[in-house]
């Protein structure tokens, strides 16, 4: 760049440097509106963020617990009755009488009894089919089954009755076992099988009500009660059901158009 160019540039700069033009009033009006708009606009995203946060939290509270429950829930659909009976009702009714009865009854039966107990879990399903149609006196025993442990133990003391009690525990194996060991068949044999068959469906039926009737054991129960007070519909706003671990999970949600219910 030669000096002439530099001179030329300098002349322009010096001439234009102090050049001022009064802008029209519209310019400030536009700036003013934009500054205003910015303030107004800034509130809307704030509100929408807050609203979406609330929605997210609500959705999380409502749906995440249910999502976690899906994993254990699926296998249950195949055999819900069994899994429920085992921990909740089976222990008080089955375990205690079995041990006491067997020991008092006859010591040789111990081995069988143990194997039966093991067998019960495996064979319960199979048992139902063949045995249930058999006899009807079973219901009598069933009524006794839910009795308190103390009663059962008393019954166990008596030689004849214990047999009945044990029966519900050892349905299937017995028949099989009886073939191998004829001695046991007589003591526990015929009557027990009847009771067993009856007892099993009875237990499964009882399982649900028993679980639900428990008082307030956890947060879920509390919510159920509160919701029941407020929501008189058949499908409650939200319904919890106890799981095996004595925890509760959401099994039903009814928010107007959205209804979710998990069958057990």
């Amino acid at each position: 760049m030669n000096t002439q160019d530099k001179e030329f540039d300098d002349l322009f700069r010096s001439k234009l440097d102090g050049f001022e033009v009064e802008p029209s009033a519209q310019v400030w009006a536009g700036i003013d509106a934009r500054l205003d708009g910015k303030k107004r606009r800034s509130i809307i995203p704030m509100l929408s963020i807050a609203a979406s946060m609330i929605l997210l939290i609500a959705a999380a509270v409502l749906f995440i617990p249910e999502g976690e429950n899906i994993k254990p829930g699926h296998p249950k659909k195949n055999g819900p009755a069994i899994s429920r009976i085992k921990p909740v009702t089976a222990k008080p009714v089955q375990d205690t009488p079995v041990n006491t009865v067997i020991k008092k009854d006859a010591e040789p039966a111990n081995i069988i009894a143990n194997s039966r107990v093991a067998g019960v879990q495996h064979h319960t399903k199979k048992m139902e089919a063949p045995v249930t149609p058999a006899e009807q006196p079973a219901p009598v025993v069933v009524k006794q089954a839910p009795a308190k442990e103390e009663d059962q133990q008393l019954i166990a003391a008596a030689p004849t009755k214990p047999a009945e009690i044990t029966t519900p525990v050892v349905p299937g194996p017995e028949t099989q076992l009886s073939i191998k060991q004829p001695t046991t068949i007589e003591t526990t044999g015929t009557n027990p099988t009847n009771t067993l068959t009856a007892a099993q469906p009875a237990l499964t039926q009882q399982a649900k009500p028993v679980v639900k009737r428990h008082g307030i054991h956890n947060f879920g129960d509390l919510v159920n009660i509160v919701v029941a007070k407020v929501d008189k519909r058949k499908d409650k706003l939200i319904e919890f059901t106890d799981t095996d671990d004595d925890e509760s999970t959401i099994t039903a949600v009814n928010i107007g158009p959205v209804k979710i219910k998990k069958d057990k």
Partner: protein
């Protein structure tokens, strides 16, 4: 009382940062005319210039917190106006049509007195009549003091292209000034 009180620029800037609405307007009133003078050089006409000014001021207010007080506030504001003008042209004109001019053209000499005789308004008109690319390079280099490398980066062109566009812009301006000067002499004569 209030109207008579004259705020310094620093006070206005401080109050603007504090969100005081009245200070925004006072600051605008203090600098608007000067900043429109800057924008005019980059614009084809006054309407374009006012668009640039408006966008520039909005950005000034938005970025007020970025001003640390290192240099003068006016200088900071002026740079924002220049950038607002550049952005305006990026949106509205294809100014990057780069034409490398073969040869520098005939070196035209202009009588400095001819320029001196032209007032600022005339010079402004001459600049506004330049094509957007030439106008941008001439403004940035001759008046704002950017280097060709910086101009190349801003406009997305090569350093050489910036140089040749500047040269072409000067040539055109000189021609215009000579013609204008000739007319003046004719009128004067």
């Amino acid at each position: 009382m209030f109207l008579e009180h004259k705020y310094t620029t620093d006070e206005l800037v401080k109050n603007c940062k504090a969100g005081e609405r009245k200070s925004h307007e006072l600051l605008y009133k203090q600098f608007a005319s000067k900043m429109l003078g800057v924008c005019m050089r980059y614009a084809t006409d006054r309407m374009e210039a006012e668009d640039m000014l408006q966008n520039g001021f909005i950005r000034v207010f938005q970025k007020m917190d970025d001003f640390r007080g290192d240099g003068s506030f006016e200088g900071w504001m002026r740079r924002i106006m220049v950038h607002s003008s550049i952005e305006y042209y990026r949106k509205h004109h294809k100014l990057l049509k780069v034409v490398d001019i073969e040869g520098e053209g005939i070196e035209q000499s202009v009588n400095p007195i001819a320029i001196a005789n032209l007032d600022a308004k005339d010079l402004m008109t001459l600049i506004q009549q330049l094509s957007p690319g030439y106008r941008m390079v001439f403004n940035l280099y001759a008046i704002e003091g950017y280097s060709h490398r910086e101009i190349g980066e801003i406009m997305g062109i090569s350093e050489g292209a910036s140089k040749s566009q500047l040269s072409r812009a000067r040539t055109i301006l000189k021609e215009q000034i000579t013609q204008a000067g000739g007319k003046r002499y004719e009128h004067a004569g």
